[in-house]
């Protein structure tokens, strides 16, 4: 049917989105749903692109620097939004993402509106598989760690969390920084595969795709968002035989998932409960 040449990029993009989505999952676990994911990923992409192209750095150190820069940006955003309520926090991250996009647009060194091109091709299938494994392992460990439980407590009830001795500020800064490490790393890997980074890919609508992955998969458990990232990245490509209708179908799939599985594809369920049963702990706002 379709060849390896068709599937390879699809799988690479799916896995890169899994890396970025696992970062977003970590950030969102403490109740800070970032709407600047695409911008943070592009920051990683720009950092790694500049280091390898203009300074002839090798691949791995450049990626690590991109991750470190991501941690810094994440911590900065967490500090900026530390006192903000849920909804306003999302909006501030949104504005941050858009502002970063416009700033990149106005720096000639980074290629301005045309973006930064001429990035060497480094990212290969094995790299992506290793990165995905690392990202999933980090997210999985975080999910079960003391910090992960503290993060959930901060998300569900900050006052009660503080009363039990959790430092809300500390948890939020650490989770945001850790999540953004993965996001920036995924962005850097993606830059070495696509071979250019542009300010337009930092926009709000690109960030929303990651939020779609997170919510369609379900925010209660790690595997849901990762599955959704795989499936929804591949969906437009697999639906390519439907030609012009593929994006309409993509939109339709999202609407149907939300209508039929309001807590996401794979919500957390009570031990022993059947898979299709309405899950416990669904959050209402």
């Amino acid at each position: 049917m379709v060849s390896w040449g068709f599937w390879q990029p699809v799988i690479i993009f799916s896995l890169l989105n899994v890396v970025i989505t696992s970062g977003l999952y970590i950030t969102a676990l403490s109740g800070q749903l970032s709407m600047a994911t695409a911008a943070l990923a592009a920051i990683g992409g720009y950092a790694s692109a500049v280091l390898t192209t203009n300074f002839d750095w090798p691949f791995l150190p450049a990626i690590l620097v991109a991750c470190a820069l991501g941690a810094g940006c994440g911590a900065l955003l967490a500090l900026l939004t530390i006192r903000m309520r849920d909804f306003i926090l999302k909006l501030t991250t949104l504005a941050f993402g858009e502002a970063i996009g416009v700033i990149a647009f106005n720096i000639p060194y980074l290629g301005g509106a045309n973006g930064f091109s001429g990035i060497p091709l480094y990212t290969t299938m094995p790299d992506v598989v290793i990165a995905t494994a690392i990202a999933i392992y980090v997210a999985w460990c975080f999910d079960r760690s003391r910090l992960g439980f503290a993060a959930r407590a901060v998300r569900d009830d900050p006052v009660a969390a503080a009363a039990t001795g959790i430092s809300i500020a500390q948890v939020r800064i650490i989770t945001f920084a850790l999540g953004t490490v993965l996001v920036a790393g995924g962005g850097a890997l993606s830059a070495h595969y696509v071979l250019f980074v542009t300010p337009s890919q930092m926009g709000f609508y690109f960030s929303l795709t990651y939020i779609i992955f997170l919510l369609c998969g379900g925010m209660q458990a790690l595997w849901g968002p990762l599955l959704a990232a795989m499936l929804l990245t591949a969906a437009p490509e697999v639906l390519r035989f439907t030609a012009e209708f593929r994006l309409i179908l993509y939109g339709g799939i999202i609407v149907l998932v939300v209508l039929w599985r309001p807590n996401g594809l794979l919500p957390r369920r009570a031990i022993g409960a059947p898979i299709m049963q309405t899950p416990i702990g669904s959050r209402h706002e």
Binding site: L33, L80, R83, M84, R85, F87, I88, L91, T92, A95, F96, E98, A99, V102, I103, F105, N106, A113, F204, Y205, L208, I211, I212, L215, C216, E244, F245, L247, I248, Y250, G251, G252, I253, I254, V255, V258, L259, P262, R283, H284, E285
Partner: protein, 289 residues
């Protein structure tokens, strides 16, 4: 000085369209607790409903405006019934994603029919410069501004002076208490979505006629701005939303005119971050969600 006034006037005209879209956005959010990301695309549908009306029926401006409003309102009705109603009371983000899915379908569906590039729009009104004390302004710009103010005035009258408007405000304050006092929340919710859609439809026809072109992706230009305006203003006061929308238009026009058009959005977003840092509930306050 003339240049400054000219820029401010241009900003007010752009801002008036932001205001109509943002008020619609804000009305739906306040009453239904739903962020309707399909709203900018309902705006787009209204634009094309007007365009088709102009081709098929008549290019009389009143007819086109009515058809634009009717097309947008009709889709708003369907959207409320099929997507928003089943999702009411759920997490705000779930409805955001669902309406975003609808928006993706609408944009790409319309792109199938009308093509992904801008198409010509009937201009509806002759373009003649009108002089206001040394400042020249096009008659279409003036008509667009007047029409937006008219729509906003109507919405303000509806919310402040009618029985349904009072019920709307009651739901905004406390949906459960309003329902206990006999307000039919379902009916008000439906009316609100349709009203917001029709307002967007009128604004869309007016914008299409102003620039002489319609585009299936036009919603992306107004959607994000409207969303931001709503949150900077807070959704408690209708007039606050209008003021912030006009202010944003003026700031954008001044930055474009005096600094650089590529920095326009950066200034807007930096202002947004500042406002939210110091007034997290928006400039004029918000209803508790």
């Amino acid at each position: 000085m003339i240049l400054l006034l000219q820029q401010i006037l241009n900003g007010l005209i752009i801002g008036s369209t932001y205001a109509v879209v943002a008020v619609g956005f804000s009305l739906v959010f306040t009453v239904l607790r739903v962020i309707n990301f399909a709203h900018p695309d309902i705006f787009m549908l209204g634009m094309f409903a007007g365009l088709w009306g102009a081709h098929l029926v008549s290019s009389n401006i009143v007819v086109v405006l009515l058809l634009g409003a009717a097309g947008a309102g009709l889709f708003g009705l369907v959207l409320e019934q099929v997507v928003i109603r089943p999702l009411r009371g759920r997490d705000v983000l779930m409805t955001l994603i669902a309406t975003l899915g609808v928006a993706i379908m609408l944009e790409n569906g319309m792109a199938l029919i009308e093509g992904p590039d801008p198409v010509a729009y009937p201009t509806l009104l002759p373009q003649a410069p009108v002089h206001l004390g040394g400042i020249a302004i096009g008659s279409r710009q003036l008509a667009n501004f007047a029409l937006s103010l008219l729509v906003l005035g109507f919405a303000s009258w509806y919310v402040r002076a009618t029985r349904y408007g009072r019920a709307t405000r009651a739901i905004a304050e406390r949906p459960d208490v309003a329902a206990a006092f006999g307000v039919n929340v379902d009916v008000i919710a439906r009316i609100t979505v349709v009203l917001a859609s029709m307002m967007a439809g009128v604004a869309a026809v007016s914008v299409g006629a102003l620039y002489g072109s319609a585009w299936v992706f036009v919603g992306t230009l107004y959607g994000l701005k409207a969303f931001i305006v709503m949150l900077v203003a807070g959704n408690r006061y209708f007039e606050g939303v209008v003021a912030v929308a006009l202010g944003l238009g003026v700031v954008e026009a001044l930055v474009t005119g005096y600094i650089s058009s590529s920095l326009t959005d950066a200034v807007a977003f930096c202002l947004l971050i500042l406002v939210l840092y110091f007034r997290p509930d928006g400039l004029f306050g918000s209803y508790a969600i």
